[in-house]
Symmetry: C2
Subunit: 276 residues, 2 copies
């Protein structure tokens, strides 16, 4: 999916919501445990209940890998179940030397080899250009590079001052020479509210993937105040707030209610900004 198509989806659905598909067995409704693959069944129902309200799904690969082979199988089935017109994000935070990053690209982009072909993957920047470039050689696939993350530990290195600004600013500046905003997005935590204006200045045309709204305490209004651009430019992720909205047999209905609340808030924001 290219940038134009993504914006069209946002306009058509009046939403820039990304649903994080990060379930753990301990937290899903008990009645699903009798299913052959409870996590997949959970994801399937969440997708059915939210697919008209969101433009992206983002499974975090850790939640699947932690369950070994059967978890990896659930990830593949979940990917296959996602509607074709929804932007898919493998939240994998990979990155290695060139020939190895090429393997990770195969793992998440090469359907024939791995059984999955996500639209995008999150990548860690520490190893530099040749660790990111192999992901950019796949047609119509995106890299979503970690810039300013939502967790407490972002203080440790991302905010370090370098001769040309903070480290996360350098990550954005340097990486913008590797690919343009048609191929490269950035992860910017919603909890970085006050830094959004700065980030938008550094990457005016880029989409930003924004985790941290909801459970982690970030504010949608603040994110949008500084983060919106003329093609929206935001994918705002919510995971726990949506997928665990209900704990009973009506969990999918409850998830839909939460997704709907966010979609409606987003619709108001898009209308106010003249984007729909």
């Amino acid at each position: 999916m290219n940038k134009k198509q993504l914006f069209e989806q946002i306009q058509s659905k009046k939403s820039f919501l990304c649903v994080g598909l990060d379930p753990v067995l301990e937290n899903i409704p008990k009645h699903l445990l009798k299913e052959e693959d409870p996590i997949f069944e959970f994801n399937r129902q969440i997708i059915d209940a939210t697919k008209d309200l969101c433009v992206a799904y983002k499974p975090n690969t850790a939640f699947y890998e932690s369950r070994g082979l059967k978890g990896w199988e659930t990830l593949i089935k979940t990917w296959a179940y996602m509607p074709e017109d929804i932007f898919t994000i493998a939240d994998a935070k990979r990155g290695d030397i060139g020939n190895t990053s090429a393997m990770y690209a195969d793992a998440f982009f090469n359907l024939e080899q791995s059984g999955m072909s996500f639209d995008s993957i999150t990548v860690a920047p520490y190893m530099g250009k040749d660790s990111v470039s192999p992901f950019l050689t796949h047609k119509d696939k995106w890299v979503i590079l970690l810039a300013a993350t939502s967790n407490e530990g972002h203080h440790d290195f991302q905010l370090l001052e370098t001769p040309e600004g903070k480290l996360y600013e350098q990550v954005i500046k340097v990486s913008s020479e590797w690919a343009d905003s048609e191929r490269l997005m950035y992860v910017v935590g919603a909890t970085r509210g006050s830094e959004f204006a700065n980030i938008r200045r550094l990457a005016p045309d880029s989409f930003l993937l924004v985790p941290g709204v909801g459970a982690q305490g970030g504010s949608l209004a603040e994110v949008c105040e500084f983060g919106l651009n003329d093609h929206c430019g935001l994918l705002v992720n919510s995971a726990r707030g949506i997928i665990y909205a209900g704990k009973g047999e009506d969990f999918a209905e409850k998830a839909r209610e939460e997704a709907l609340k966010l979609q409606q808030e987003m619709q108001g924001i898009l209308e106010k900004a003249g984007l729909i």
Copy 2:
């Protein structure tokens, strides 16, 4: 395996060699392709041929993930086949917010959940303390943190000057407050030769995992000149130079010959340093 036991293995085998188990289907001997799981069969024979010459095995997870479900299965089988007295490294370069890193720790440390229990995992530092800490809560398990990597892209961010030194120096300094040298190692590329003295000063007691000897051009002698400490403190990795030493039916024998050359060079170095 704890630090003392690792040094005992090094003394007993007169080697600090780590063999990188990073095979791709295109490069393994053709006669193996008739096997049900050619990559596992390749790894099995490499392990049988080298296990008395090395102290560690390091499969890079990308090489397995790239093949989807069957690749993940091969990784689990390969882990299970590694001798118990050999230090095992999941070269996964993971790292995410706290609750998610805990899942990655389960993926590689929690046998019951994932089917694997490596001794250690490589972790990317960009997201800071809470992305690393969850890996440190598993008894007798190690984090091997990326510090100065062997690839060209290490220039992009790792060498950036911060108020207290280069970024990779800050990574070592700051992370040394999270765990001591009994739980934390660092990845330092062999191609960083001249920086080794500096790194050893910052982390005098830590083991360093050193890729980049051989195919990537690093020199073992140079690494040891600056990197050895009083308990060796080095795990030097070779992958392609060993596993692809032969292309025919005698590939395992050829791999052994290459591993033996390195082991003998290492024995000389350990003897000269009075460590055996």
